[in-house]
Symmetry: C2
Subunit: 369 residues, 2 copies
């Protein structure tokens, strides 16, 4: 390909060229290729143990008999995270650890709602060891140490809006989501409730325990795990980089530099302050943040859009703050790179191979591959 050298004067153009090449339909050979796995498995990581006083009598209280149950002298192991991992043949040195968002699970990174490969398999094909998390109280890490309840409330359409597929029950024009009814059915069903109170400190502790176990790796977060990811970095040096898809809350600033809250329709986005010595850790690793489409720059009445307007504003302030203190945060709005129609789930949208390529290129650029 012959390209005038002048086109490469701005890095923006260089990035655009990468995106354009990413948008070429992926060769069928990609999905037809055989996955070669060196090892795979699952484990529970972190967690606590709750103990009831007294003595357990296995004869008197050992039966599965609700009428005669006793907790005396027994323990409950809970508050752990669950991880399923796969290590390909000839792996790259740094694994990718994928952490889901609110109401979601490791499913976020598996097969897309319309049945294509998700980031789990796409990045295995790119020779990354891949770890998929369920945070404490979610999915396969359901056993927590505090009681919880599930309301079974009808709320699919609210999530349709917050996850930016559209407004009400109408898809946004050009949205990167299959219009086949089965895709929306799968999307709704992949939500899964908490079994106990959602506790950020518990979650961060468990995810940190994973990095203690596996060593240096890159953390990939989504939505609610974005802010939890910043907190995890503060306590674990094995997190060598973060790629964050649509972080929504818990942005961490140095005390004295915490920006004002941002009001949006139906809520308020607050920032967190930590001592400067703690904050500096966030300046030591490369970080990239991605936001999709349908996020307005000015306030709108639709809460499903307006909360993400607030998130982008806060993320921009945060990126500026971290970078001002010597950090390396890149904030990318996918439409600015020519990727249009992305929902809150770029990792499973119809153009997710292009999004994966963007992430892979960033990892290469930062020598994380």
């Amino acid at each position: 390909m012959v390209t005038p050298p002048s086109l490469f004067r701005t890095s923006l153009f260089a990035v655009l060229m990468i995106v354009v090449s990413s948008c070429v339909p992926s060769r069928n050979t990609e999905s037809a290729d055989i996955l070669t796995i060196q090892r795979q498995g699952s484990m529970l990581v972190g967690g606590t143990v709750k103990t009831s006083p007294g003595r357990f009598d296995p004869i008197a209280h050992g039966a599965f008999d609700p009428a005669n149950a006793s907790t005396a002298g027994q323990t409950l192991h809970g508050d752990h995270a669950f991880v399923f991992y796969q290590v390909p043949v000839n792996p790259r040195p740094l694994p990718l650890v994928f952490w889901h968002g609110y109401g979601q699970s490791m499913k976020t990174w598996q097969t897309t709602p319309d049945g294509r490969e998700g980031f789990q398999t796409l990045f295995l094909r790119r020779r990354y060891p891949v770890y998929l998390l369920d945070q404490p109280g979610r999915g396969l890490a359901g056993r927590t140490t505090r009681p919880g309840s599930y309301a079974a409330a009808t709320d699919d359409q609210r999530w349709f809006g917050i996850f930016r597929l559209g407004e009400g029950t109408t898809f946004y024009p050009g949205v990167q989501f299959s219009q086949a009814p089965v895709a929306l059915d799968q999307f709704y069903r992949q939500m899964t409730p908490d079994t106990g109170p959602l506790d950020i400190d518990v979650n961060v502790a468990a995810v940190s325990a994973l990095f203690d176990t596996i060593g240096p790796a890159v953390l990939v977060t989504h939505s609610h795990s974005g802010g939890q990811g910043w907190l995890a970095v503060l306590r674990n040096d094995n997190i060598r980089a973060i790629a964050s898809f649509e972080p929504g809350s818990n942005f961490v600033f140095p005390e004295g530099e915490v920006p004002e809250s941002i009001d949006y329709v139906g809520g308020r986005l607050n920032a967190r302050g930590v001592p400067m010595d703690t904050f500096r850790r966030l300046t030591e690793i490369p970080i990239v943040i991605y936001y999709g489409d349908y996020i307005p720059d000015e306030p709108v009445e639709n809460p499903g859009q307006d909360q993400w307007r607030a998130a982008v504003i806060m993320a921009r302030r945060w990126a500026e703050t971290v970078n001002r203190h010597g950090g390396d945060v890149t904030l990318i709005r996918l439409p600015e790179l020519g990727l249009h129609g992305n929902t809150h789930f770029p990792m499973s949208d119809l153009n997710n191979t292009a999004v994966a390529r963007l992430l892979a290129d960033w990892l290469a650029e930062k020598n994380l591959d």
Copy 2:
């Protein structure tokens, strides 16, 4: 190996020789071999949709704002099962579908508590397409249509007994469970609660939907899914065989031939009756049932053992009944084949490769491979 031909006069001895050869420590090459996966992924199967009357207003009620929540006009997709599948290169024709037991999830078939390969990977190595289920309300299939609660009760030691690792907190002598503390820690943490009421009919419908989707396959059940498996066979012709590890309840007999209930310490095991026309379906497929060790033949005071005494008695009656009507049920007590020390979880016990080999041999014997 030279063996007197007379030794092979009884099939029992033939089986014993298979078991003896199974007990040779597995070569390290087995776990060092590369897994070659043709495709893998996950999906939600079956389920229902709950709808609230009224009209959803995305502007008024679209925010994530508990104080202003409204369910009007919204849906809830729930009561589905979750499945993660892997299809190896050069697959055998019939997939294996693995269904967990009470309080468990697909984790049952993944990495063992002491960190070895579980049936998921062992059977992939044997070239079976492998499907791992989470039934409705469990694990990654948490979204159900009815409310539920989780008590976070301390009950680890009760399960230690019911799952036959030992009595109280003391392991049974010779138990096939690692004495390394981390193994028991992992074992306790792999339990995960229900998010809604446990409903056998809902579960069977969702699992049946999976067989509608994937076509003919072999169902492998454990404990509580054993009985659910018999019910699933009654409604789905794609279930071509069942291997059931330690089924505990819901044995299905023809009306008029339902045996008396069996009392055990802390409970009573009832049998179910169905019309003969329905029952006959159970006679049309090969079925094998496995029970482990520490199951007494006479009543004992320890409820963790006594409930399995009742299960074995009922299973034996059931096998006799199905076979009398032309069926093909084999009931195996592992100690009788020389496999000692098995808990309620033979698929993850220390000798699980020998147990896997037994199952593989049965599949071959029944031309299911």
